[in-house]
């Protein structure tokens, strides 16, 4: 495989509340390659968004800070990059799309104003040139009637249209990497497919690398090339999409897959994983999944498993067993 575009190594992010620090992202490592979609899945609160924000250098300060690890992008480490240089990277080399399009656009400015402001931040172009670029970006995400939209304000657009604007904003400067954090969760089901389709089309056309954060395994199975599963701030399993879905090894991955309703095959009770995600202030000392794991050994309680590479797969488990049909 080609050399990675972005390499995250041992990334650890801590949050501080009332004088107590706790890790919300713990030793996360992954690589992103050009023209590839990496799916990042897990329950809410498992640290997916914090991982993405850490890569972008957008974690809420001073409540949170990156306590260790590096994010290698080209020959630079984004974690130690001065804020001034990091701003050059954001929106230009690496872009991000957020979950809730309804609240993610400044209500006081027109769409055109918001887009051109970001363009002119990164490119020394005239206002008309920036407007032309913005217009083209809006057309590419198939926003209907883009000329009119340019002069409209966010409140005049539907949620789906606003998310298209967000995508246009993220893509207009041709970034190498796009981070999409639950880009369709807040949208109507019918709009979700359209938005995802747009996003995919653009990713392919540009040969862009994309980190797709979602809790929707169906979406991941359909679009991702590789999948990383996060639990309690850690990546517990990472594999090419086919391998992960056909032969999940980590009991948590297996639980997630079993929890997806399989309407075609059988009816009956849905599978759930017993217990809850441990609060980040209070994570078990061994494997963080041990309290909820049906296969936990004594060792799982006493020792923290490492993420071990094995034939294209990375797994963090002492006692993997093949998935038994439910």
């Amino acid at each position: 495989m080609a050399s990675p575009l972005l390499s995250v190594r041992d990334l650890t992010t801590v949050i501080r509340t009332e004088g107590i620090e706790f890790e919300v992202v713990r030793g996360v490592s992954f690589d992103m390659y050009p023209n590839e979609i990496l799916g990042l899945v897990g329950e809410s609160g498992c640290g997916k968004t914090m991982t993405a924000l850490s890569v972008m250098g957008l974690i809420p300060s001073p409540a949170a800070r990156i306590a260790g690890g590096e994010v290698r992008f080209g020959d630079r480490d984004l974690v130690s990059l001065p804020e001034r240089e990091m701003r050059e990277v954001r929106g230009d080399d690496i872009s991000m799309i957020f979950q809730d399009p309804l609240t993610s656009l400044d209500p006081m400015f027109s769409i055109g104003h918001l887009l051109t402001e970001v363009i002119r931040r990164h490119r020394s172009v005239s206002r008309p040139e920036a407007e032309a670029m913005a217009l083209q970006a809006l057309a590419e995400v198939e926003l209907p009637d883009p000329e009119t939209r340019m002069s409209q304000y966010p409140h005049q657009l539907s949620g789906g249209m606003r998310q298209r604007v967000m995508i246009a904003m993220a893509l207009m400067l041709d970034p190498d990497i796009l981070i999409a954090d639950e880009p369709t969760t807040a949208l109507d089901v019918t709009v979700q497919a359209q938005i995802l389709d747009r996003l995919l089309g653009q990713q392919r056309r540009r040969g862009m690398s994309m980190l797709l954060i979602t809790h929707d395994l169906g979406v991941v199975a359909a679009v991702a090339d590789r999948v990383a599963v996060m639990y309690s701030g850690e990546i517990v399993e990472q594999a090419p999409v086919g391998q992960l879905f056909s032969d999940p090894q980590h009991p948590y991955t297996q639980g997630l897959l079993r929890a997806v309703p399989q309407t075609r095959h059988q009816r009956g009770a849905l599978h759930t994983i017993p217990g809850r995600v441990p609060p980040p202030q209070f994570v078990p000392p061994g494997c963080p999944f041990s309290p909820r794991c049906s296969q936990a050994l004594v060792r799982c309680w006493e020792e923290h498993p490492e993420l071990v590479p094995d034939d294209g797969r990375h797994l963090r488990c002492f006692n993997p067993r093949p998935l038994t049909p439910a």
Binding site: R90, G91, D92, P107, F109, S110, E117, V118, Q152
Partner: protein
């Protein structure tokens, strides 16, 4: 446009209602209007004749329309105390009041908003705490007391500024600051909380993700959003200035509408009290309306539907 129309209609209705209220309040309980115009020795028959002449025996609603009609034709009558033409008084004193009020209004926003922004940007630092303590003090110190203190300090002890009078710029400084104090304190608090509220919003993250600098995000976008609640309460600031002008003008001997009104009330000069009350009420209502217009202009969500 619908917003503009509805606010304008509302303003006119409020004007109508409040003019009626002011008229009745002062006319109905104004005591025997003949007492001020006739000597105590006048007979009841004389008084009755005067009442007839003044239209005081007409039905009260008719008196209102007669009064408003006279107002519209510019006939405001004369003061009972010095027989001055009320129309001349209102022009002269109105100008003084507007100078003082405008100075205070500018101070409230030109000092309050930047201080509030500074406090929000330097949240939980010494600067923030200092500004917020000052603002608590600004709200706790009654402005007539502040007026006395400032006269004592700047006029009596330091002798930097005159203690009272009108209408040189030097004489304007103290009354304008005292009149603006509480409004400034409130504006500081409001600006700070509006800035902080907007700083937490999702779109701030979007702008940061676009690579915009912190100064741009805060100085342009967050500030622009924070302006909305500030402008929407500008009408109240105007009302507050009109209200406090009644006190401050008296203390500093600033011959404005407020001072005249208070003296008129104390001297039972009903024609003056009635008209000047009306003028101040109209100023408050118009101030609220202007703030509505500003709110409309500043808020794209209302400009287009």
């Amino acid at each position: 446009m619908r917003y503009l129309a509805s606010r304008t209609v509302y303003m006119l209705v409020i004007l109508a209602i409040s003019s009626v209220a002011v008229f009745y309040a002062i006319r109905l309980s104004g005591g025997d209007a003949t007492a001020a115009r006739l000597p105590a020795s006048a007979t009841e028959a004389d008084r009755e004749t005067l009442r007839e002449v003044l239209g005081l025996n007409d039905p009260i609603y008719q008196q209102y329309f007669t009064y408003m009609g006279r107002l519209l034709s510019g006939d405001l009558g004369n003061s009972l105390t010095n027989n001055a033409l009320i129309s001349k008084m209102v022009v002269e004193h109105g100008r003084n009041s507007i100078i003082l009020g405008a100075a205070a209004f500018l101070l409230v926003f030109l000092v309050g908003v930047p201080l509030g922004m500074l406090a929000s940007v330097r949240r939980n630092t010494l600067a923030d705490q200092g500004i917020m303590s000052l603002s608590v003090a600004g709200m706790a110190v009654p402005n007539f007391w502040l007026a006395l203190l400032s006269i004592w300090l700047f006029a009596s002890v330091l002798r930097w500024l005159p203690s009272a009078g009108c209408c040189e710029p030097r004489q304007l400084i103290l009354p304008a600051i005292v009149l603006a104090a509480e409004g400034t304190a409130l504006t500081v608090r409001m600006t700070r909380s509006a800035m902080l509220e907007n700083l937490d919003s999702d779109w701030v993250r979007t702008l940061r993700a676009g690579g915009l600098s912190e100064s741009r995000v805060i100085g342009k976008h967050v500030f622009r959003n924070a302006l909305i609640p500030i402008i929407s309460l500008a009408g109240l600031r105007i009302g507050q200035i009109v209200g406090y002008a009644l006190i401050v003008e008296v203390i500093f001997g600033w011959p404005g509408l407020g001072q005249v009104l208070v003296n008129a009330v104390l001297r039972r000069d009903y024609p003056v009290a009635q008209f000047f009350s009306l003028v101040l009420v109209v100023m408050v209502v118009l101030g609220n309306w202007l703030a509505d217009l500003g709110y409309l202009a500043a808020n794209p969500r209302l400009r287009k539907t």
